[in-house]
């Protein structure tokens, strides 16, 4: 049945892309802005899924990588604008996230089980404190305003975010289906056996970390120049990381694409329910909890289950 399942997924995917492509003609700038944020969040969630779903590493601190990327780009721009092109700032953000990822991964890969997760969580708390303390550099709790933005046109921003999500999604998905993705899965499944088959497990997991960090950092940096500001509550807070993890689990682990669906769903639902005020988050959380309890394979699991029946 795999051909049928993938074809069904393919059609759903194609339909979604078409909808995303024609959307700017019909909806308001506000909705486009919302979707722009959703697309960046989708990249965060997909990057996280590469680490968890394939390499088997539970990273509780996706926002460490995102935050390092976002703030590096933001700080560079705030201090050197207009001498420095924002694209260089963005590239520097992605690079900084990769360096941060390696620094985080090297010691973290030595420990296993819950301790890996704890290490990553502590990294987030450290970054958060650093930003608050080094307020002169980072803007502290108020946030860092960057002088430049990519564009003030909602449509342009939307196209950039959509393009970025599609390209990163294609790369991450392709990677997960490639030889490296298979080796990663084998390592995540059984580290000892993967070693006995001749694979340097540490090297492959480190590579997964680097890729995950690169896309997280890049997305973080791009988002800074969309929003025009970087703040702890949008990029670093543990709560943001939690939302990313929930998005990935909700959409369906180990699918990459599911993570994107989950992220767009979470943000979309939050907005649809906004008129309900405080109840909005409550309802979204209840839905997410119900999905996790009753459909542990997430949205994609539901679709696939339907295809099998």
């Amino acid at each position: 049945m795999p051909a049928f399942v993938s074809s069904r997924l393919f059609w759903i995917g194609a339909l979604t892309v078409i909808v995303a492509l024609v959307l700017p003609t019909y909806v308001s700038g506000y909705v486009l802005g919302l979707l722009t944020v959703a697309y960046y969040t989708a990249v965060f969630a997909m990057s996280w899924d590469l680490l968890f779903g394939f390499a088997g590493e539970v990273n509780f601190g996706p926002t460490f990588l995102i935050g390092v990327g976002a703030y590096t780009a933001g700080i560079l721009d705030a201090h050197y604008s207009p001498g420095l092109s924002i694209w260089i700032c963005i590239a520097a953000g992605a690079l900084a996230a990769v360096v941060g990822g390696v620094i985080l991964a090297l010691p973290a890969l030595r420990v296993s089980g819950p301790y890996f997760g704890l290490t990553t969580l502590v990294a987030v708390l450290m970054l958060q404190n650093f930003i608050v303390v080094a307020a002169g550099l980072t803007g502290g709790e108020i946030g860092l305003a960057v002088p430049d933005v990519i564009s003030i046109d909602a449509k342009t921003n939307y196209w950039i975010a959509l393009g970025f999500m599609l390209v990163s999604g294609a790369i991450l998905f392709g990677l997960s289906r490639s030889a490296i993705g298979l080796i990663l899965q084998a390592s995540g499944q059984d580290k000892i056996q993967a070693g006995a088959l001749g694979f340097n497990v540490t090297k492959h997991k480190l590579a997964a970390f680097v890729v995950s960090a690169f896309f997280s950092g890049l997305a973080g940096a791009l988002m800074v120049f969309y929003m025009g500001t970087a703040s702890v509550s949008t990029f670093v807070d543990v709560g943001v990381g939690v939302q990313i993890i929930i998005a990935a689990v909700l959409g369906g682990r180990r699918t990459v694409i599911g993570a994107a669906i989950g992220a767009i769903f979470l943000i979309g639902m939050g907005e649809l329910l906004r008129p309900l005020g405080e109840l909005a988050t409550l309802i979204v959380s209840v839905i997410a909890l119900l999905v996790i309890l009753f459909f542990p394979d997430g949205f994609l699991g539901i679709i696939r289950g339907g295809a099998k029946a």
Binding site: L118, T119, N129, L279, I292, L293
Partner: protein
């Protein structure tokens, strides 16, 4: 003067941390569950006490009792809604249950937090204190409530120690944290041990939440930081080690108080986090962890 101030304030805060973290670590020790709705349960208990004592005029004692009851109810709800269904699920692989329980308890915590915000707004709430007035010791003027907090915390911890080390039920809980299979072989139902542990946890978290509400006040914004602080204390002390968390609570409490008074309140949490990072890298099982 400043020395005494730090000593007294630090002691009260540390006692509160210790009480909050004890139940958290006990659950991990017995059933391997890291309950990320911890902060929400503490705040839930405090808000229930606040609402009963203030809004509905039951007075501080009755309010505290209702708060503790709320803690108990929330703890059981957490277990039955977000933990047990996953533990018993066949659809979720054993190796993935950890991340599922973490995610589910986290969501459950958010649900409690949002429900509180919806029903009682986001405003900070101070629970009507049982003990009022100010007293001066060593030239430091301190609210009597602060001493009261420390005393109650230690009484509660003492009771827990007594329960675990001196009663049959408590000993079987202890035994289950070392070897669950051994307990089953001795004819003791693990399911009833879990219920006992969640009940103890609910009581401890409830008391800690109410005391916090009287001492510093709570709001739905305190949920995250409360979970995080319990989490770091427990990691520092060694997951599952009750005595380790008690010591870690004092280390963290004094580091924070000292930093706040001597350097700046803005830097409050940083030294403790640095310590946590160092411990994680050098000794990931925590200062007193058994593993």
């Amino acid at each position: 003067m400043l020395f005494w101030q730090i000593l007294i304030d630090g002691f009260a805060i540390s006692a509160l941390y210790a009480l909050g973290a004890t139940g958290f670590t006990l659950i991990f020790g017995v059933s391997g569950v890291l309950n990320l709705s911890h902060g929400a349960i503490m705040v839930g208990a405090a808000v229930a006490a606040w609402a009963a004592a203030g809004e509905f005029g039951t007075g501080p004692y009755m309010g505290a009792l209702i708060g503790i009851l709320a803690g108990l109810v929330l703890a059981f709800a957490t277990y039955f809604i977000a933990v047990r269904p996953i533990q018993r699920s066949r659809a979720i692989a054993e190796s993935e249950k950890e991340i599922f329980i973490l995610t589910a308890t986290l969501l459950w915590g958010i649900i409690i937090q949002e429900a509180i915000a919806y029903l009682f707004t986001n405003n900070a709430k101070t629970v009507l204190p049982i003990v009022e007035g100010v007293t001066t010791v060593f030239g430091v003027r301190t609210p009597r409530n602060e001493y009261f907090t420390a005393v109650i915390c230690w009484v509660a911890i003492g009771l827990l120690w007594f329960l675990v080390n001196r009663t049959r039920r408590g000993k079987s809980v202890m035994a289950a944290s070392m070897n669950p299979r051994g307990v089953t072989l001795l004819g003791i139902e693990l399911s009833s041990i879990y219920l006992t542990v969640w009940a103890i946890y609910g009581l401890l978290a409830g008391v800690a939440g109410i005391l916090l509400g009287m001492f510093l006040g709570v709001s739905s914004y305190s949920v995250g930081p409360l979970t995080a602080s319990a989490f770091s204390i427990v990691v520092l002390g060694g997951l599952g080690s009750v005595s380790g968390s008690l010591i870690a609570a004092y280390v963290v409490g004094y580091l924070e108080t000292g930093t706040a008074y001597l350097i700046s309140p803005a830097y409050r949490t940083i030294p403790a986090l640095l310590l946590l990072v160092v411990v994680m890298y050098l000794r990931p099982q925590g200062l007193f962890g058994r593993r």
